[in-house]
């Protein structure tokens, strides 16, 4: 008999409708349904959620922290993307 761990799942919880799901932590479960049950018992004992997503941790594709600078740098010199870049002449309103 195999004696390996149940797979790891990441848990995301929507605390109330209108808000997006947010990472809460992780749990182990043998299958998807059990993952939902464990996530509920572990992370919503005080009604912290109205919706739960679980996803196998191994399925998540993440950016590499070591490459953070190179990965995100291209956005940094495009300050013209922000409205504060533009000068508004005196007297102009509702812009």
């Amino acid at each position: 008999m195999s004696n390996k761990e149940w797979p790891l799942y990441e848990v995301f919880i929507r605390s109330k409708s209108g808000l997006s799901h947010r990472h809460a932590g992780s749990i182990h479960a043998a299958d998807d349904q059990m993952a939902l049950d464990h996530a509920r018992d572990t992370y919503t004992r005080r009604s912290e959620g109205v919706s739960i997503w679980v996803v196998r941790s191994s399925q998540i594709v993440a950016s590499d922290p070591a490459e953070t600078a190179a990965f995100f740098e291209p956005a940094e010199d495009k300050i013209y993307r922000h409205p504060t870049f533009y000068e508004i002449p005196e007297g102009v309103e509702n812009l």
Partner: protein
């Protein structure tokens, strides 16, 4: 609930430390000094990672073992209401253990490995859980004192430099004050009861007071590993500072209950605004940590048995999941 100043010696030899350059270490410390949070996959010194794995896993083990002394009274709680509350509290402790194992796993150590270290006795858990719960009043004393001490320890951990640990602590601290209040409430009701009930509350305080003070760990002068943990902002206050804070807030609560703190040296120092208290029996602390407390063998024995008895359940769930997956694929 229950972290402890369990900063014992790091026995494992430094492995990759030698490959760490001074520039890397400096850059890391600069991030810490700037109050930046360190996240799971970020570069970190091997010693920082090891310290966290040790602390987080021992913290998790404490939550799990901590269910036992309270579980002892589940079937004998005086009312259905008290039983429901205690059941909810114990379930919280299991949850806290799970949040913490989850945080520990982000450091690249498997849950099985952490649990394995608990079961073989390699990893420690808080010394407080090696004391027996002899009466119902002990359940009150655990909530009030042990959870109270844990809150003192844990609130600063919410600002710990390691993100996943800090976030787990925020969640835990939110749930902790229910634990402390239900404990105080148990003792308050006993203290307002018959003389025998009040004596029971006093007896519980007598037995839990000193072990609760020990939860903060050795005196600062004897706590060798604190300095590094402070520099890394894993720890924010020293053992003695936290212990003093705990005594200062708890003594007036004992007075409210009409109970006497079992320390003849306890006096209020007007000038400093702090209570001065007697010397802790450190020999007792060392013995309990070494495995010679009143319940060490029983606690670990029960945990091992529960783990072994649960193996067929884990295996059956695994087999069922594999079967379902195969069916779906066919």
């Amino acid at each position: 609930m229950y972290t402890q100043g369990l900063d014992q010696k790091d026995k494992s030899a430094p492995q990759r430390d030698t490959l760490e350059t001074p520039e890397q270490l400096e850059a890391f410390q600069a991030r810490i000094d700037a109050e930046e949070k360190i996240e799971a996959k970020d570069w970190m010194p091997e010693a920082y990672r090891r310290t966290l794995v040790r602390q987080i896993s021992q913290h998790a083990h404490s939550e799990i073992i901590g269910m036992q002394p309270e579980g002892n009274w589940l079937t004998r709680a005086p009312t259905l209401k008290r039983k429901a509350i205690l059941l909810a509290k114990i379930q919280d402790e299991a949850g806290h253990g799970l949040y913490l194992y989850s945080a520990g796993e982000t450091l690249g150590v498997s849950r099985d490995a952490m649990v394995g270290d608990l079961l073989t006795g390699k990893a420690k858990y808080s010394s407080i859980f090696n004391y027996p719960t002899l009466t119902w009043a002990d359940i009150g004393a655990i909530g009030w004192l042990v959870d109270g001490a844990a809150i003192m320890n844990q609130i600063p951990l919410c600002r710990c430099s390691y993100g996943p640990y800090a976030r787990a602590m925020v969640r835990i601290c939110r749930e902790e004050s229910f634990h402390q209040r239900q404990g105080f409430d148990i003792l308050r009701v006993l203290c307002e009861g018959t003389p025998e009930q009040k004596a029971m509350a006093q007896d519980a305080l007598n037995r839990w007071w000193w072990p609760s003070l020990m939860m903060f760990g050795p005196n600062d002068a004897d706590s060798k590993h604190s300095a590094q943990s402070m520099a890394w902002k894993i720890k924010r206050f020293s053992n003695d500072e936290l212990r003093q804070k705990f005594v200062d807030v708890t003594v007036p609560q004992a007075e409210f209950l009409g109970l006497k703190v079992p320390d003849d040296d306890l006096v209020y120092d007007e000038k400093s605004g702090h209570y001065r208290f007697g010397e802790i029996d450190w020999q007792e602390f060392i013995e309990v940590i070494k495995g010679n407390g009143p319940c060490n063998r029983q606690r670990l024995g029960k945990r091992r048995k529960a783990h072994e008895d649960g193996e067929w359940v884990r295996e059956a769930a695994r087999a069922y999941a594999e079967k379902q997956a195969a069916k779906a694929a066919a």
